[in-house]
């Protein structure tokens, strides 16, 4: 046996509608239609509608558009666009990953856009990815309160006109609430967008201020501008394999790295080039360009710099000069050069002096013949040497008073 409470178990829910005036219903219907149209416009972007309302979701277009501002777009097939127009480009079918940026360059089938507040332009996008041209915008502090007032007013009038009671149909609340939240989601995901412009970030720079070989000091000096990075350590190898010593001096953002080239290395280069052989040599003093690589790893506080530098210098043939009874031989090379010097007497028609010398690197050899030859007269000094595997000779006039 069941016992039920009997108050208001049944109700005929259509009676109240009789009281609603036809005019009020018409106005309400009009308001509903308007709201539906607005909703369609808000979803315009994702339903491919010719006109779409969109809400600015990023600060890339400040101060033109601020976050929350409503922008009104017209499909590009209705209105063309030019450089300077603000356009909406999307990269996905559902048009959720978009940018609202200004077209700064149109070249062929590609458009380059840029946010007014962005430090640089976006990557070029195909013209077909540009869906809307922005024709107007409404600041957020105008459209949000306006829309809220309209929705509240329509809701209130509906409630009022429906007899100030909600009819209890099962599922009504569930459907209403879920539909409301889905509408909110669709709205937020639909009329906003995930701005897909690339991130802009500071790229650390390292400038090569100076890099040169000082053949006299046998130092390859590298000067770097490290900006906000700090040099921790430096290690270098010469000619791909030979480890060399380095010193570093840091002054503010400038780092000076000296790479010490061993003297023996020049001899190695000399021998290598000599073995390889040189081509045509002009008349003395000839000059042959030589180069070698210096590979350095600079360990920085937050990374490392791998630099490959080329040191260039010239092998120079010894320069032979004479001043009366003095013969001067300059060796501008970083290796010693062995020379054989002969002094030919024109009076005797014979060699009166012959001796071998070693001219040290980057130095000069001075021979005063008056110490070796007592007889006055005019002589010819012949200097023979091996220059990069080629036996060469030079002559100079010697006058012994």
């Amino acid at each position: 046996m069941y016992i039920y409470s009997s108050n208001n178990l049944l109700e005929h829910g259509v009676e109240h509608m009789k009281d609603m005036s036809r005019g009020t219903r018409r106005r309400l219907m009009l308001a509903y239609v308007l709201l539906i149209v607005v909703a369609i416009l808000f979803l315009g972007k994702i339903i491919w509608f010719p006109i779409a309302f969109m809400v600015v979701a990023g600060r890339s277009m400040e101060p033109t558009y601020r976050v929350g501002d409503l922008v009104i777009g017209v499909a590009t097939y209705l209105r063309g666009f030019n450089v300077g127009d603000v356009v909406v480009c999307c990269r996905d079918f559902w048009r959720t990953a978009c940018v609202v940026h200004r077209a700064v360059n149109i070249s062929g089938n590609y458009v380059v856009t840029k946010g007014d507040a962005n430090p640089g332009p976006d990557s070029p996008v195909p013209v077909s990815s540009v869906y809307y041209v922005i024709v107007a915008h409404i600041p957020w502090f105008i459209w949000i309160p306006l829309l809220a007032i309209v929705i509240i007013l329509v809701g209130y009038l509906s409630y009022k006109e429906s007899g100030k009671r909600v009819h209890a149909f099962p599922g009504l609340v569930v459907v209403s609430l879920v539909a409301t939240y889905m509408a909110i989601n669709a709205g937020i995901l639909g009329f906003t967008y995930i701005d897909n412009s690339s991130p802009f970030y500071y790229t650390p720079r390292i400038d090569l201020v100076f890099a040169s070989l000082d053949i006299h000091k046998s130092i390859y000096r590298i000067v770097l501008n490290l900006s906000e990075l700090s040099l921790v350590d430096a290690s270098c190898v010469v000619d791909d394999s030979l480890g060399v010593n380095t010193t570093r001096l840091v002054n503010g953002s400038t780092a000076i790295i000296d790479v010490y080239i061993p003297r023996d290395f020049y001899q190695f280069l000399w021998n290598r080039t000599s073995a390889k052989g040189v081509g045509y040599l002009p008349s003395p003093p000839a000059s042959v360009m030589e180069s070698f690589s210096i590979d350095c790893i600079f360990r920085l506080d937050r990374g490392e710099l791998r630099g490959s530098y080329v040191a260039v210098f010239n092998w120079r043939e010894p320069i032979v000069k004479s001043f009366n009874d003095t013969l001067v031989i300059n060796n501008d090379n970083p290796v010693p050069i062995s020379v054989r010097i002969e002094l030919f007497s024109h009076t005797r028609q014979a060699v009166v002096f012959s001796r071998e010398y070693r001219v040290e690197p980057l130095s000069q050899l001075v021979i005063d013949f008056s110490r070796f030859v007592k007889e006055r007269g005019v002589y010819t000094a012949r200097v023979y040497y091996n220059f990069l595997g080629v036996v060469r000779g030079q002559g100079a006039e010697i006058r012994i008073p």
Binding site: S6, L10, T180, I206, D207, L305
Partner: protein, 242 residues
Amino acid sequence: MGKEQRLGYPSITVERLYLSRKHIALFIATAVTSIAIAIFIALSTATPVAVIGGGIVEGVISFTSSRVYVLGKPVIFRALESLSIISLAIFIGASITIVFSVYGLTRLLTSKEEIYVVRSNGVDTLKVINIVYLEYIPASGLVAMLLVTLFMALLRVAVADIVPALPLGGCVSTLAGMLCLERSSIIYTQLYIALLKNPWILIALALLPLALSVITIYIEFELYRKQIRNVLTTQPQLQRSL
């Protein structure tokens, strides 16, 4: 009168339902589950997703606000700004779930109207509640389910699309040579490690309120259907009990 009611069947509305203790327990479980899930999702949304560090890039990424710096200079990343606006939908959903669940729960628990049903094995006490208030509970459960799915979608977008676009380091050619900067590592917070390693957690969180809501809606519809049937068939036997 009974004949008139049968003829008027399409316009019959039943406002109040009578719930047994089992039904009440199920509705309470649904409401509590929805509230717990909504709070969890809202707090998760406000919790940092990942911390970036160990290299040139440092910062914190979360759905609501992110701060990322390269060598101390801020990264301008509009996608993260958009994410914070879209995460508004999560907070709206959480608010809807919590408010309506609490409201429905409060109505259910504070309803003092009861009826007694005499059965062969004793007397059952049934609580009387308006169907509108009762429906808030499964409705907010469904919103909680939508909330979790939205959270899953945003998490996927953040982890798979947005975070990988961040400049974590690498090599760049300069006049001085190849400058290779230390790559920063993305360390996901414990919560997100758990969620990313165990995606079934979120699926379960979405299915749980869905299942409870479906069951409670089914119960509600069954009670409604039974009540309509009983009203139509046993109208003469109705008696006021309270």
